[in-house]
């Protein structure tokens, strides 16, 4: 159908997550139409992000220019508490709360027995090495509240607790702004168990 550079661009775009052949065509034609400088800005951004961004050697968050990410390099962060997440994007979500001042550890996924993903496919050994180094006394497991995330949380807790680390899990509860009558029994059951006293 298409040949040469246009074909190549459509093929490359089609490899991106969530972009099907139709969207790839649409984006390619959009790029054909935009001013040359806009196209350069896009291609430069792609090249620069690949050149300057790496994974933090300590926590596996994204790092810009340097072995460590901004959070690991920040002396103001509490080095005794870490938040264990599945993906660097989860760090952004936790950071937005402004309520966590420790550091992170990115596992790079969750245990997924049905997909054949076990502990060896995650950054578990690296987490243990950080615990061995001695400073960490508390870990908050912030994996997704689904089957895989829960399994990962249980596994991390079982691994770290005997090492003297206090391990906690994000509370399961009702989303603020939702209606109680629509809550499913698993969520509501856990919310009941995790109820908190109202301070008056």
């Amino acid at each position: 159908m298409y040949t040469g550079p246009l074909r190549a661009l459509i093929d490359e775009l089609g490899r991106l997550p969530g972009i099907g052949p139709k969207s790839a065509q649409r984006i390619a034609f959009h790029i054909l139409k935009v001013p040359t400088e806009d196209a350069h800005r896009l291609s430069d951004a792609i090249v620069v992000v690949k050149e300057r961004t790496t994974l933090c050697e300590q926590c596996f968050n994204v790092a810009e220019g340097g072995a460590w990410c901004a959070i690991c390099s920040d002396d103001q962060r509490d080095g005794e508490v870490i938040c264990v997440v599945e993906d660097p994007r989860d760090i952004v979500a936790v950071e937005r709360t402004n309520q966590f001042h420790g550091r992170y550890h990115v596992l790079g996924g969750a245990l997924n027995p049905l997909e054949g993903i076990g502990p060896d496919q995650l950054k578990v050994r690296e987490l243990l090495a950080r615990i061995d180094a001695g400073q960490i006394r508390e870990a908050i497991v912030c994996t997704n509240p689904n089957l895989e995330g829960e399994a990962t949380a249980m596994y991390v807790a079982r691994l770290l607790t005997p090492l003297g680390v206090i391990v906690s899990r994000l509370a399961s509860g009702l989303p603020v702004g939702g209606d109680l009558e629509y809550a499913d029994e698993l969520t509501l059951g856990r919310a009941l168990e995790g109820r908190r006293r109202i301070e008056v």
């Binding site: 969530g18 245990l111 027995p113 049905l114 997909e115 054949g116 993903i117 076990g118 502990p119 509240p145 689904n146 089957l147 829960e150 399994a151 249980m154 596994y155 079982r158 989303p175 702004g177 939702g178 629509y182 809550a183 499913d184 029994e185 698993l186 969520t187 059951g189």
Partner: protein
Amino acid sequence: MSLFRDTGVVLRTYRLGEADRIIVLLTEGHGKVRAVAKGVRRTLSKFGARLEPLTHVDVLLWQGRSDLDIVNQVEVLDTFRAVREDLARLPKGLALLEVSDQMAQERHPDHRLYAMLVGALRALSDPGSDPMLLAPAFFLKALVLEGAAPVLDACAACGEPDGVVDLVAFDLVVGGALCRAHRSGRPMSPAALELSRRILGGDLAAVLAGPPPPGADEVAELATEAMEVHLDRRIRSVRSVAGL
């Protein structure tokens, strides 16, 4: 488009697009069904945790022209929390789901498989039961459902009955237990042979009620291998988390 209602167990889910998931269900009346749950990954989704794997549900589905149905409503029959929240039981439960997923055919009801899966999940969530033999027993019984019941009372190669020959090995490729002259596959102890017979001979409830009987480790390995031979693939949820 037509609407239908059924009960089913969520076998697994796949992410779809930004916020949706494809839900794979083993239903009682329609066999394996794939359906889209729209918006289920959003925090305020009306589905909440109801469509997580392992959940036994009552669902209302839209069947359109494509292979994928659409989840319209869902109610929970059982969340199997005792399985979900126990690292010793969860991989066993997932192994049941994985094998059921492999065995079930789309839009082709198999009441016995469905009843076996629901029954096994219930047994697995019984806190008094030892989960060790549950998945292997399920595998052996599933082989029978599939018409691949292992021969246990005679040599699968020469047909000589137990007693006339000693059954000392097991190989599902050949068909079951094997005598000394025809041995292949893996060695099998008398205890493992006896336990396999009890599991398939209607004594499963008693086997699961107590602590693992002699030969349990061997039967667990043998049943897993036999199911893997039958499916011609590894059972990932047994292998990937073997060290947990």
